[in-house]
């Protein structure tokens, strides 16, 4: 029996005068690495926001398994470069639960762990505002991991990264998926990356979609030309 974390059932969403998602159904099971692709403006971020409960569907529903913790790396972020917010402080912002005004010992240990996981220990004390694009994305990832999520949603986390940094970041995510069984939902329009890492894909297209195991996408060499 597969353990379904998210079940999207006949989901539709329209903004005023602007249908974005229609009749979308798919499931994400524990341990999956799902790649969500589709061109700019097709509704990938919108789908993520419905899953997170930030937007309400016009029809259909999204069922999240009880108690599933979601870590999320949003596509856009506004962090003032002048903020005196060290990377390790930024990472610690995300703790949920009852919080003392200061970090508990357990929380500090966890901060070290995730910073180590993404490989930022050498600059953990530096202000986030001054970090490079790649370092920022790693810090965002660390922050999303802090509460031991069951499911990690990344929205275009690699969009602005050079090939090396992209690989470093994806390798971290891949390792978490393979070794800790962390379920991944990765949004991207980078076709090459989608061929390489995920084991399932969901391809949003105008008014329709396509989904299945990643091998199906490999075999679709014609449409594989996209991007």
């Amino acid at each position: 029996m597969s353990d379904t974390l998210i079940s999207v059932e006949d989901l539709s969403l329209s903004f005023p005068n602007h249908p974005v998602l229609s009749g979308l159904s798919f499931q994400v099971n524990r341990g999956d690495f799902l790649g969500v692709i589709g061109e700019n403006g097709i509704g990938k971020t919108t789908l993520v926001r419905v899953i997170l409960g930030q937007l309400h569907p016009s029809a259909g529903k999204v069922v999240i398994k009880n108690g599933v913790r979601i870590g999320y790396v949003p596509q856009f972020r506004n962090i003032d470069v002048e903020y005196p917010l060290a990377i390790k402080d930024f990472v610690a912002l995300n703790f949920t639960g009852l919080k003392l005004p200061w970090l508990s010992k357990k929380e500090r240990t966890r901060v070290h762990q995730v910073i180590h996981q993404v490989g930022l220990e050498h600059i953990a004390d530096r202000p986030l505002g001054l970090a490079s694009g790649g370092e920022k994305q790693k810090a965002y990832l660390a922050q999303a991991l802090i509460n031991h999520p069951d499911l990690l949603i990344l929205d275009e986390s690699t969009a602005s990264l050079d090939p090396n940094t992209k690989k470093e970041l994806l390798d971290v995510v891949y390792r978490l998926n393979k070794t800790s069984g962390l379920t991944i939902l990765f949004v991207s329009h980078d076709m090459q990356m989608i061929h390489e890492y995920p084991d399932h894909y969901l391809w949003l297209k105008k008014g329709q979609y396509e989904s299945g195991p990643i091998e199906d996408l490999h075999n679709e060499n014609k449409e594989g030309q996209y991007v």
């Binding site: 962090i79 005196p84 912002l93």
Partner: protein, 267 residues
Amino acid sequence: MFSFDFMQNAYLAGTLIAIVSGMMGVFVIARNMPFMTHTLSEIGFAGAAFGIFIGWTPLNGMLVFTTVSSIMVGELSGAVESRRESVISAISGLFIGLGILFLSLSQKNSSYATNILFGSVIGISRQDVIQMAALSILVLMVLLLIFRNLKDDSFDPVGAQTNHIYRNIISIIFLIMLAFNVSVAAQIVGSLLIFVLLTLPASSAKYFAHTVLHMMALAVGFALFGVWVGLYLGYLTNWPVTFFISSIEAAIYGISLFYNFIRSKSK
């Protein structure tokens, strides 16, 4: 100097206000709310005038007006910038007008207006100090209680959105604390110069700090320095204390900007 009751009162009140304002200021800056704070303060002016008119203390009038309006004003911080500026001008104008009306209706002389707008240390009674101290301590305690969530919401609003913290509640609590803070601080620096204690120290601290806690400590330090030295110079010269406090804070801010300029050039 401390043999005078009014100087004791002024130092006591000033110290507490500097501590609270320095800490709150960090969040005012992070939440990009300096102008909101200023508007709140102008609403406070009308409140103080209203208080005098109906026979309350200016502080109580101010507290009522700022608390009631804080949430309304805070809602504006989400509005589009161009719209926000115009709405703020309208609100400021309206409330300053109201303030002048209440003052003239209460037939007090114009020095009352000067005191509310520009602050006054002479007028602070022991009774006022106790009330200001109680309010300041309340603000500090609430701040401590919501500190982590407020920090999350202020420094990483996009992240906080997905964080299941109760952002609306945090925001409302913050605004009410800000209303208290503004009302109390205005007693010393005046409602026109609320910037001086609530934003300048934190803005300056931003350039020297590496962490939020560090920034708070520095902001408190800058605010305290200005208030202490300002009160002392005011005592020596008989010039308005507000003049000294604002000059000191502005100078510190100027130095911070200069420091930041040099630092970014040398990189």
